[in-house]
């Protein structure tokens, strides 16, 4: 695994955690694809966002791309698929139609974007996918994937949980939306991570990535299983909802019930700093610098690894207060 050199062009703060990443897989170069050379500066770049900018992750992700594009003098076109897969395909086609020479895509789903990739291929436009890995062929269908490893996030959440609970207790899992592969991966990683420890999963129910649903489900679970000692929430929002529910049930979250979740939003990290939350595994949304760097390198003719895993930070009670400004 080659290691990218740390990025130093960015000042500290939010982008700091994007500074390192691991890469993997055989490389892909312009020579291999036969695509023409495109200078990033002054180029028209299309960005296809998958969901409305209505949650912190999406807001930070889009902002990061926009900021970086402005910094590098790129003419950026942005579309938003509004959670509709067919619309995302249209979006990407329309970006191509409007003259995008480079594409950054945040896929709505791991599967189903093949027609869009084919359209880009036909126009010899390189595509970088971010935040969610797709099942298509790297280097042929798309250039590379930059993002987190969701299974790994689940595993790290499990590690935090084991550390906080001493490896024993009853866990409730607040699942993400059904049918979503983020849910699937974060569940798998977590369950793998706690295998062989004394932690047992007593309930797993979907909170649909939504704070109020997370709260409602937690309220039900804490009534029927008052002996729950740990909660793993597959995103921060549900975790924060669980905190409210636990408090209302007379528990003290972070102490008698440990809570670990994935995302790294400001609200959750603040709770960690306040002591009513155990830990947060970051899912880093700041793809801008890395995405444009990769495009630049590809343009120069360098070899690009097929997976670029953005490094995710971790917040626990020891560091949350200092790192609070990194949260989004």
């Amino acid at each position: 695994t080659a290691r990218e050199s740390p990025q130093t062009t960015n000042s500290g703060g939010p982008a700091a955690s994007a500074a390192q990443q691991q890469t993997s897989g055989p490389g892909c170069s312009r020579a291999k694809t036969g695509y023409p050379q495109v200078d990033v500066k002054g180029a028209t770049v299309g960005f296809s966002q998958s969901e409305k900018e209505a949650n912190p992750f999406r807001v930070a992700e889009t902002q990061s791309i926009k900021d970086e594009a402005a910094k590098r003098g790129v003419n950026l076109l942005v579309t938003n698929a509004q959670s509709d897969l067919n619309k995302q395909i249209s979006d990407i086609k329309s970006l191509l139609d409007r003259g995008a020479k480079l594409l950054i895509v945040a896929p709505l789903n791991s599967d189903g974007l093949q027609p869009a990739f084919d359209a880009a291929k036909a126009k010899q436009v390189p595509v970088i996918t971010i935040d969610r890995k797709v099942t298509s062929q790297p280097c042929t269908d798309y250039l590379t994937f930059i993002g987190s490893d969701f299974v790994e996030q689940g595993k790290r959440a499990a590690q935090q949980m084991v550390k906080a609970t001493g490896g024993s207790g009853k866990v409730a899992i607040l699942l993400g939306a059904s049918g979503n592969n983020v849910t699937v991966d974060r569940t798998k990683g977590f369950k793998d991570g706690i295998a062989g420890t004394g932690l047992t999963v007593v309930a797993e129910q979907t909170g649909e990535f939504d704070r109020s649903k997370g709260q409602a489900v937690m309220e039900q679970l804490i009534q029927s299983n008052p002996d729950i000692t740990a909660v793993y929430a597959e995103n921060d929002e549900m975790g924060v909802g669980a905190v409210t529910a636990l408090k209302a049930a007379g528990k003290s979250p972070g102490k008698d019930v440990k809570i670990v979740s994935v995302d790294g939003t400001r609200n959750a990290v603040q709770l960690v700093a306040d002591g009513s939350y155990t830990a947060v595994i970051e899912s880093n949304p700041r793809f801008g610098p890395l995405a444009f760097d990769t495009l630049e390198k590809f343009g120069k003719g360098d070899e690009i690894p097929q997976n670029i895993v953005i490094s995710d930070d971790e917040y626990d009670t020891t560091n949350a207060a200092q790192k609070l400004s990194n949260a989004y």
Binding site: A54, V59, S212, Q220, Q223, N225, A248, A249, N267
Partner: protein, 310 residues
């Protein structure tokens, strides 16, 4: 009348109560820690906002209409709260209710004056309303800290949660409205035969606008209570799919979608039934797939029993 006919008729009228009792019995026997005060409080607190929305929905359905925008209106109310919370919770709540009123009146205007079919008229607000809420909130969830405002969602009076009290109070008011007032009578008349109601000189448009406005306000009330309970304004998710929950509860409670009849107590029971179903499925830790199929079966069963015979 034969005995079986009487029994069918009785079941038809009271099926929803029977179902609620059956589900309570099931839980008492098979669900751990079900018979606790805390658990009942939880169920009531969770049901309160749905009930408040369903009350408004029942009135709208009584006029042979439907309001798909209630979830979006809840989101709008949620988005409004943080904007005015600085001026005190009363101001913020009033503003949220005013927005709900305006949204509802707008729906009513489209239905009554412009003559657009309710489902489409309110679909526009369903599509656009949440977007508007997000625009207002700049796409952000805002945590709320005002203790007076938060007390609405967490406080209680003599052990009864405030939100439950409000819901019950509103149910009583709506029941009085439908059974004892001119407005209520006119509303079901319009739902029963709009042409005839017009020719009878009833203030059809005024009643329709009023009904949708009430539905809007009630949705806003629900939005305020839910926001307070969440301790955050979350326009992206607030009230998502609430329209379907509310409609289901109303219909399960015996109010026909064809209008001309409003059953308030039935609606309350419909809400309670659906809440119990949800709770049961969660407490027994069923996977989402099975849970959805069971919900489907229960809805069909409840409506089947209460259906109007030809």
């Amino acid at each position: 009348m034969t005995l079986t006919a009487t029994r069918t008729r009785w079941l038809q009228d009271n099926g929803v109560y029977v179902a609620v009792v059956a589900l309570l019995l099931f839980n008492a026997l098979f669900t751990a820690n079900f018979l606790t005060l805390g658990n009942f409080t939880t169920q009531l607190v969770q049901a309160a906002p749905v009930l408040i929305v369903a009350l408004g929905m029942a009135l709208v359905i009584g006029t042979e209409g439907v309001d798909l925008s209630v979830g979006a209106v809840m989101a709008l109310a949620a988005a409004i709260i943080p904007l005015y919370l600085g001026a005190g919770p009363l101001v913020a709540i009033t503003m949220a209710l005013v927005v709900g009123l305006a949204a509802g009146a707008f729906n009513g205007f489209l239905v009554a004056e412009v003559g657009i079919q309710p489902i489409v008229a309110t679909l526009a607000l369903l599509v656009g309303g949440r977007g508007l809420a997000l625009v207002i909130a700049e796409g952000q969830l805002v945590q709320l800290h005002d203790p007076a405002f938060l007390a609405l969602g967490t406080g209680d009076v003599l052990g009864i949660p405030i939100s439950v009290l409000i819901a019950v109070l509103l149910a009583v008011v709506v029941a009085g409205l439908t059974n004892r007032t001119t407005f209520g009578r006119q509303l079901v008349a319009i739902g029963g035969n709009r042409k005839a109601a017009t020719l009878a000189g009833l203030p059809v448009n005024r009643v329709l606008v009023g009904v949708y406005a009430i539905c809007g306000v009630l949705a806003a009330v629900a939005g305020v209570l839910a926001t307070s309970r969440l301790a955050a304004s979350d326009p992206a998710d607030m009230g998502l799919l609430m329209e379907l929950s509310a409609i289901t509860a109303v219909v399960v409670g015996g109010t026909p979608l064809t209008g001309g009849k409003v059953r308030v107590l039935g609606t309350v029971m419909g809400v309670v039934l659906m809440q119990l179903v949800r709770a049961t499925l969660i407490k027994h830790n069923l996977p989402d797939s099975i849970a959805q199929m069971i919900q489907a079966a229960i809805i069909i069963a409840a409506v089947y029993v209460a259906r109007e015979r030809r």
